[in-house]
Subunit: 304 residues, 2 copies
């Protein structure tokens, strides 16, 4: 490992390139039947993306690494965990983009999966990415008890009390007035749960103890929320080309956002406060938390 | 356990009632947000059904039970594994019924989930049932190494090389001529993989050794195929009311079936041969395999 000695942009570049190649290797090849399903899965997953979730897994793993375990096993474990959270994220985007949901035709500057293939293939590609994530966790060469913990965490974070539950509340709330508290609850499930899971998975694979896990939890909850606040700000301030997806979509769809409820200035204030909370949570981890701190800065400063 | 001493219909009745109550307890309550998502999940899962997959888990568990482990832990483990396969089955039916797939409005004599709720809720209910299945496996009070095996098996069986892959091939093959071999490959993925997983999960939870697992595998592959042959026969011989779903749907949709490729008589001959194979596979298990034998008879003789 030992990425702590290099600067954050170089570290992030390295991790983003690394996870691309890990995902490429772990996804089923198109030479294996059913070819079009596998093609759609690869199209959705390998189409770029910020890889924030994978980076969080790696950074949290590096921040809490126990030197007692073999380094190669931990590296493979982190690769699988990072791939798993990216697969869950990719599946959620495929399904969110479908006509019965957000009906989006553009994602990361390319046609969405159901536009490029068809609706049935898009739904099935999402349906197949989800169990692949759990399969990859099961293949981590770490203590089975830790694998079970990781599986539980991913399952809860992806389910009706996590990501999918948040998505359901989001769908129900179109055209409704939400309080800032209700909005926060929705986003902490929809986006926060999987971002938080990414951080904690890194800690589980690294064998982090309970005090290190508590630091990760505090960091993760601040970052999870900050991520959504930035998304909402970008929806009104960025243009479609920079964003790689349709800008102004939430505003046009009458979806409640931080900006629509708090206004732009207060949303920016909230963001700065969450940013500070994330850095504070990392203090007990010392220099090992450098990459997590870098991700916090990156999430808050991103323009897409 | 000790259900071996009672006759098969009474055993099956008992297990079907038992899994209904297990599922009712393990599904999130509608009092928990998001209410409509949880309502849709419960509507889909608790709407009856033959519970063949759950019965296979219990029967395989009883057939291979190791008396060294505590009985209560094994019972809870089998309950969770049985619930997990029923949740995966229920999610697959919700998604199969959607307009972009089979566009079915009737299931088990009731409106399908997207008709009763809406398309977005139906898709999300399916998306949330899948991780719940993995969460339940993770909560089995058995050795973590066995839980990891069970998770791996469920993940592979539900994924692009299993159930979802078979579904994708099925979609692609509408209007095409399939050989009997291609048809068998498709069904062994689409339906067979999860039926087989159900049998093997029971063995894993019960701590079955490798020779017992081989018996279960042979039994499972015969039963998996037999199940689909019966489905295809019923599609042309049963009426909609008895079936509880639209009869003649596959024939009308120009979908290749065993009956359309082999004809009705040869399909029935194939069914009898698979039935015999299933019974033969059980011989080494002795009287403990009685309920698995009963399920084989039940699957072949069912009229819906």
């Amino acid at each position: 490992m030992g990425h702590n000695s290099i600067d954050f942009p170089a570290w992030l570049d390295d991790r983003v390139q690394h996870i691309e190649s890990v995902l490429d290797q772990l996804l089923p090849p198109v030479t294996e039947a059913p070819a079009s399903l596998h093609e759609a899965m690869r199209y959705a997953v390998l189409g770029g993306g910020k890889r924030v979730r994978a980076a969080l897994v790696y950074a949290a793993g590096e921040a809490t690494l126990q030197t007692s375990a073999p380094a190669s096993a931990q590296e493979i474990g982190l690769d699988h965990a990072a791939a798993a959270v990216e697969l869950i994220h990719a599946y959620s985007l495929i399904h969110d983009d479908l006509p019965c949901m957000d009906d989006d035709t553009l994602r990361r500057g390319r046609p969405t999966v159901h536009v490029r293939f068809n609706e049935a293939t898009a739904m099935l590609a999402g349906d197949a990415l989800q169990p692949l994530a759990f399969e990859l966790l099961g293949l981590m060469p770490i203590a089975p008890a830790l694998t079970v913990q990781a599986t539980q965490l991913l399952a809860r974070s992806a389910g009706s009390m996590g990501m999918v539950g948040g998505q359901a509340i989001d769908c129900e709330s179109v055209g409704l007035e939400l309080s800032a508290e209700q909005l926060q609850q929705m986003h902490s499930m929809k986006t926060g749960a999987m971002l938080e899971a990414s951080v904690l998975l890194g800690g589980i694979v690294a064998g982090a103890g309970s005090s290190a896990r508590q630091c990760l939890e505090r960091y993760a909850s601040a970052i999870g929320l900050a991520f959504q606040v930035v998304d909402d700000i970008l929806d009104v301030t960025a243009d479609t080309v920079t964003l790689g997806k349709t800008a102004g979509k939430d505003a046009a769809g009458n979806k409640p956002t931080y900006v629509s409820i708090l206004g732009l200035d207060s949303s920016r204030e909230l963001l700065h406060s969450l940013h500070a909370q994330a850095h504070e949570a990392l203090l007990p981890l010392g220099p090992a938390g450098a990459q997590l701190a870098g991700i916090a800065d990156y999430v808050v400063g991103r323009d897409r």
